[in-house]
Symmetry: D2
Subunit: 387 residues, 4 copies
């Protein structure tokens, strides 16, 4: 199996998530970083590229330069896909340009700044036929796939309630004032978008709930707050949820909950049973049913569904974690890219990754949450329609 | 120290909570059950009393009979207090009658069916001067007292957010159709009141949050649901909270969350730290702060506040649980009764129990929650004013 | 059902375990404290009795006086049983005297100081026919009964390995030097016996393992240590175990493990599955099997065995703890006493409590552990034979 | 920084640990697999190499061929180090040959079959001056480094007791009879060595305890068992430990404890405090002290020691796990290799990995454990002396 070639936009020195993407790709050895425009500052971009061992010829000063130069290369040298790991405001132009040029895209979340951009991007992707993955990385965990499988197979019965929470505390003080890079751009509307915590982590919560349950939001009621004085975006958001079909729910996200590290959790209740999963203890899935004792499912066991087993690298008890889940998103995208290149259909459980549609729905969720929070009306319609 | 004498209304055969009250009182040997009207059915009342060893003369067929007969007894034989453990609809007439007669009262929650009754009861209590305790038993846990102390002393700084949840699953099916006694009356509006889960357990959540944080609710936004077909009251409720002063919160309660047993939890976040407590693991309180590792406080240690230490019977690691917490409410009430009888003021940390005011505020919370759930308006004013 | 009458020897002011016994008995209201010789100092005994509300006539200055006086009372007034909660060295004379006089006995553990005393006591008990319970209280937990039932019914298959540990840290410094009462007598060979940690808590570990597994020790290899300078008895003990039939095990106990509160745990492995139980989280029992996910059994559920269900007072999720388990030992003993008084046989699951034989085997275990620790020989024979 | 080149011996199709090594190296992108002799069967070796994308010229049929061919390559093409991931019996000849040839070595554990081989290897390593790492991977976890640092800095005071346990259940049945590759060689004395569970996982327990505490074993008392009929090596081992200086301990390892997955844990008690760490929850370290609440340290926080911070890739709450710890051993070895190549000394906290001496001590521990288990003598001297 030949290694795929990829380029990266963003992810230079001091960036956090770019390095995670690179490690996630490297882990399984299926792709190789061959090009990059690693910063919006050309100098910093090139210095970062040198540190990563990029050849000078493909260590670009800007993404536009990279796109142009890569397109000039013969197909057998050109990057197979681009990985976009910039602050949010650049997702749209970069993703659009590469997708239009027929280069497959893996893009960080939230996808873009608004639904207009999202729908435009969908059109581009549909027209160009590229593979487009959005790194809602938490859906890459094997036990999330197991949960999705159990819901789908009716193990819980019709769903009644979803509680999804994303608790963080790292922005409990005005960290952005100290120019910490992560805090700075995430609290800047120009780069982050119209929402703070809701965009950064609430969107993960939305995606996790949608992925596992398959439920569609119908209405939401949101209350966003900016607790830290001087901050320009929300750092806390609480939502009531109503799903199509009658299920109810709660979703919240916060970056001011001191003590919470990266505490994403979900609980799903149906007529026959429930599931609980916690990102900080990701190898475990708790299943309760109307009768009999609680069951604790753990990664790596033969009783898990094929999708969960495929997403596993190590035996039980040898914990897997964040990077492996991230890598699973890439593996899924790369399966789809290879299938496309080879002109074949994806097999069962292949190509299991969040797509541009997940991304667009996430953007819509952010918009509607902000709208609801500003509204005096109790319920804001929030059903996303795939264009 | 002489044993106090008490009578019980309700709590006969098949009742659940009456036996808990009796065990809670018995545990510390400070009071003795000497009279009872243990059921609304005279025959069942008397049979139940015989099983409990009540003397025939004070094993009454009705609470009216009991009140009348006890009042005829000389003061040194008469009950010092009555414990009311009936279904909710009887709390009001019984509590009012005993309080008016000058007999101290311990009453189960929710206090009464509506604010009119609650305010009337407050007047009666204030006029008669009786001690009136409401068994919001979860506030009796030592680690709840510790949490309250830490908030009060500013360990968390000004509060920002409260997440309080009460998860149960025992009503996930239509248990009341099988005539299970607990399910039956709790889902019957005539006996339970205008709310189901919200009245039965949501009110505990409200009280726990109020007790620990001292915050007052300003506005709420509620979404109540009846998931089980045929049920007549809500079995699930989700609320957004806004507190006076700007703190925000989430409160939910459910009796259809399969797998949840009696899963009451609270998380409280301030500008400087946070606390987490879980009723099913009650000897533990988690404290996080802006710097340094998480701290796990456990019951029985010398580093706890006096109120928490007073409420403890066993050394660390010898777990205390539900009944001890319940007993602490009674101990507090009995301290107040003795002080009143002896004409002395309560000492520091004495008389630590939920009062008729807590009960009235709880009733108001239930009313407002139901009102909010029926409303199209986002926010319902919910600030309770002590009459 | 008439309340039984009991007297207590030991358990005066400052005593810890006497108050626990009294609360345990009081909880269920089946017996009443009517007499006591609560301290070896007559003055202190009487002062303590007054505080507990004992009538002067039965508030004795010594246990000898109590025994004599009670025997002079008519049978319908005399105590039905005595509860012995003194330091260890008094268990033997007191228990023997009351048992010989035909008064039922509940005695704290370890039973006596040596096997000679133990065997003598067995003879007395067998001759007199009294009920004799030893408060190995941890066996009173419902989930311990459930574990015992599952082993007995072959759920684990033939057993292979037992790991039982009792971790405490309260004696990590020379607490006895400060005259803390509990530390003082427990580290004094004259009152505590030949062993410190092994006698105080190792004996609980032995009993718990024996109760649940039904296995008999065949050989042991012990290494006892006194870590704290100036201490006169062991404060830490590690043992390898070999059971009749080929199972192996580890047992340890320590009172110098800082951070450990009352951390008694057991893990039992068979050919088909395993069980794990932890005293500090007593409402839970973990069951693993060769196939399928881990199961978490919790107290109060309908899927538990009758003995576990009988031993439960509250619904699931309303935690029960130490005192309830203690009370279950008393309930079992009182069932046996009533049956004996009424001349009837015990029903199934009635009279479920540790007996004088458990006590004697525990004493033998302590002796053998000390012997093994002093020996250069690897294995010390440790199979106890019921005399 | 140029990527190092490495070759692998073992780790072909169906192997488990070889793939883990490759992922661990790939994660950080500091080295590249350029050569391999991936199986003892030449055909399988080559097929495996093709799957991994090895160039034909360096896809060798045997390790001898690989060594010879690599030595013929110019230094700037030759592998910088070899990674040995074969069954145990091949570690010695392969490691010796590469080390003698001056090629740096990363070798899986247990190092070799006996102390004679180990000492020979030490001589070779000392003579040739190569870097030699042994993949006791659990010491690569950041929180293990934190624990080591706290012990070293006296946070616990002088140590008293160590409890280290390695619980697995995957060999509870005769899995080797089904020709499962991992079970087969691990239970075969010819390939695995004189011990089963003790060699495979007990050696990890020994190394973990030694690494964190710095304590030297003085005497041990072991009881090894083969529970599964037909098995040729121990599948369970229990040990009492005595350390130089007076600390005591327990160590056990088992592969028949059903329900245990890869449950390696350690508890360390000193005069002033204790630490607890659990491999299946590796981002957490629990610290108890004589006063004050328990502290829960978590990976990624600023309060951790430099060695723990250096070993971390992700922010708090973004869990790291097994592969990252494994990769840390490689990073440490690669730092040492680069330093050697550049003729410079290692900086503080650089080159933090288990060496040939750890490996040799581990082999001695296995020998002594087997010797002790066969002995009637209680204590077997087990102090390893660095030759």
């Amino acid at each position: 199996m030949r290694k795929l070639r990829y380029g990266m936009v963003g992810g230079g020195r001091d960036a956090f998530i770019g390095a995670v993407h690179r490690k996630a790709v490297a882990l399984d050895g299926q792709a190789e970083l061959v090009a990059g425009a690693l910063s919006s500052s050309p100098d910093k971009a090139k210095a970062s590229g040198r540190e990563l061992g990029l050849p000078d010829a493909r260590n670009y000063g800007s993404w536009e330069e990279m796109l142009e130069a890569e397109l000039r290369l013969p197909a057998q040298e050109r990057i197979d896909f681009v990985s976009i790991v910039t602050p949010n405001h650049l997702h749209y132009p970069v993703a659009k340009a590469f997708a239009e040029a027929g280069i497959h895209v893996v893009c960080d979340k939230p996808l873009v700044h608004n639904s207009e951009q999202a729908h435009d991007l969908i059109q581009v992707v549909e027209r160009s036929g590229v593979v487009f993955a959005v790194t809602y990385n938490y859906t890459g965990y094997p036990m999330v796939k197991q949960a999705r499988d159990m819901v789908k197979n009716g193990v819980l019965g019709p769903l009644r309630k979803v509680i999804v929470e994303y608790n963080q505390g790292w922005l409990a003080t005005q960290l952005e004032a100290s120019h910490q890079k992560q805090a700075e751009w995430r609290t800047d509307p120009a780069r982050s978008g119209i929402a703070g915590a809701v965009g950064d982590i609430g969107s993960h919560a939305e995606n996790l709930a949608a992925t596992i349950t398959g439920l569609e939001l119908e209405q939401i009621c949101a209350d966003l707050t900016t607790f830290v004085p001087g901050r320009r975006l929300d750092d806390d958001g609480n939502l009531l949820l109503r799903f199509v079909g009658g299920a109810k729910g709660l979703l919240w996200c916060s970056q001011v909950e001191i003590g919470a590290e990266n505490d994403l959790r979900i609980r799903i209740f149906g007529e026959k049973g429930s599931l609980t999963w916690h990102q900080e203890d990701p190898n475990v899935l708790i299943h309760d049913s109307l009768e009999g004792p609680r069951q604790v499912l753990t990664r790596g066991n033969a009783y898990l569904c094929p999708a969960a087993q495929r997403a596993t690298r190590l035996p039980t008890g040898h914990p897997e974690a964040f990077i492996e889940a991230f890598a699973n998103v890439y593996l899924g995208a790369m399966e789809a890219i290879r299938a496309k290149q080879e002109g074949r259909a994806l097999g069962e459980n292949e190509g299991d990754f969040p797509t541009v549609y997940d991304g667009a729905r996430g953007v819509y969720f952010i918009e509607k949450t902000v709208e609801s929070s500003r509204s005096d009306q109790k319920w804001t319609e929030a059903r996303w329609k795939r264009p």
